[in-house]
């Protein structure tokens, strides 16, 4: 196609034929380079631009009875209180008589993930084979990143049962005591 002047094969002076050839062939290397660069750009922007969607399911709200709370065994549930400054305070059991009292940890691989992995093994041993329930209670000083991080951690560690619920005043006191309730 780009080769406009094909060697006709007819006789003639060698020099002339050579000159014709040089003029007829267009060097497409740069054009191909550019085209592939643009292809790469469009490919990456089309597929990478789409944001991720993290699905969340909340329990059905009982409007008739706000105190309709499901009782769960103390030795199955750990509670994560999301505080300020990207820190979590977690405890095992009930806050009034905890099996493990509140401890402050960080987010990520070295922090909360180790706790979750440990409790995932420990809870079935203590409660007779029943699996771990994680209760996530974001305080008003926590930010959206914290919530997304902790939900992501649930997926990574593969915690089957977890829920987001409302923090109560006693738990806010714990956060205040541990200095996790700053603006």
């Amino acid at each position: 196609m780009a080769e406009l002047n094909q060697d006709s094969g007819k006789g003639g002076k060698g020099g002339k034929v050579r000159a014709k050839k040089a003029g007829g062939k267009v060097d497409l290397t740069a054009m191909v380079d550019l085209a592939f660069l643009l292809i790469t750009f469009f490919m990456l922007t089309t597929s990478l631009n789409k944001p991720q969607a993290m699905d969340v399911a909340m329990p059905d709200k009982n409007k008739m009875d706000a105190n309709d709370n499901l009782e769960i065994a103390d030795n199955r549930s750990i509670t994560l209180l999301l505080g300020s400054d990207n820190k979590i305070s977690w405890y095992y059991g009930q806050l009034a008589k905890p099996i493990y009292p509140p401890v402050t940890v960080d987010y990520g691989k070295e922090g909360i993930r180790q706790v979750l992995l440990k409790m995932q093994k420990e809870v079935p041993a203590r409660s007779g084979g029943k699996d771990l329930i994680v209760v996530i209670r974001p305080s008003e000083k926590s930010v959206q990143r914290n919530l997304v991080d902790i939900l992501d951690e649930m997926k990574i560690v593969d915690v089957k049962r977890y829920m987001i619920s409302k923090i109560n005043n006693d738990e806010i006191e714990v956060l205040k005591r541990d200095g996790l309730f700053n603006d």
């Binding site: 490919m43 944001p51 991720q52 969607a53 997304v148 992501d152």
Partner: protein
């Protein structure tokens, strides 16, 4: 002479076919790429390792940044029906021209009574600064405008899907999905208000919009 010619022919490769293919692909990607509209409200979403992508259609997005809430419906036809329903509910009438303008509006953050004013402005003047956000509170009454918007958008989606049932190759996409696109540094109380607003109308399932985390930390 003969030898020299052979050598020359072998050094330059014929790029024609490669060029053809690459431009064909380029054309394909240019045409399929949807031009990204500049967002009115700039949201810096948090990152997660979730592999699921956000759907393109059949979706309502609630954006939150700096304490302001914006709402947008992806499908322009559903958008129009939603405004019709809202206009009845709040007693604000819109002209045909305003409906047309609203169809072009990706997201907005004004109370119902200021919506006409917003639509009267040219596109480039509808920036984030003049929009105070959609009013939201913990009630289920008309003062919680986000509640009404989400509810009417869900109804409009059902209406729109029903009207398309007769079409060939129509697959019912189901009820509208709701996504919350909150800024990474947004405080929890406002996110909680939105979650409660959704739960109050039994929209118990929703998505958080996140960016992709490059690798596990």
């Amino acid at each position: 002479m003969g030898k020299a010619k052979v050598k020359r022919a072998s050094t330059s490769i014929d790029m024609t076919a490669m060029c053809d293919v690459s431009f064909l692909l380029l054309t394909f990607f240019v045409l399929t790429a949807t031009a990204r509209q500049p967002e009115v409200l700039v949201v810096d979403t948090p990152q997660s390792t979730t592999p699921d992508k956000l759907p393109d259609d059949n979706l309502g997005v609630i954006s939150v940044a700096e304490g302001k809430i914006f709402f947008g419906v992806k499908n322009p036809t559903v958008r129009e029906i939603t405004l019709k329903n809202m206009s009845q509910k709040y007693g604000v009438a819109f002209s045909a021209e305003e409906y047309e303008k609203f169809k072009q509006l990706d997201e907005f953050g004004v109370p119902m009574k200021n919506l006409r004013q917003l639509l009267s402005l040219p596109n480039e003047q509808r920036d984030e600064k003049i929009q105070p956000g959609v009013p939201v509170d913990s009630t289920e009454t008309a003062s919680n405008e986000l509640y009404s918007w989400v509810q009417e958008a869900r109804k409009a989606t059902i209406e729109y899907n029903r009207s398309r049932e007769g079409e060939r190759d129509f697959v019912d996409p189901g009820p509208m999905k709701v996504a919350i696109k909150a800024d990474a540094n947004e405080k929890y109380p406002i996110v909680n208000l939105i979650i409660e607003t959704l739960r109050n109308q039994k929209q118990n399932k929703f998505s958080f919009v996140t960016g992709l985390r490059a690798s596990e930390q």
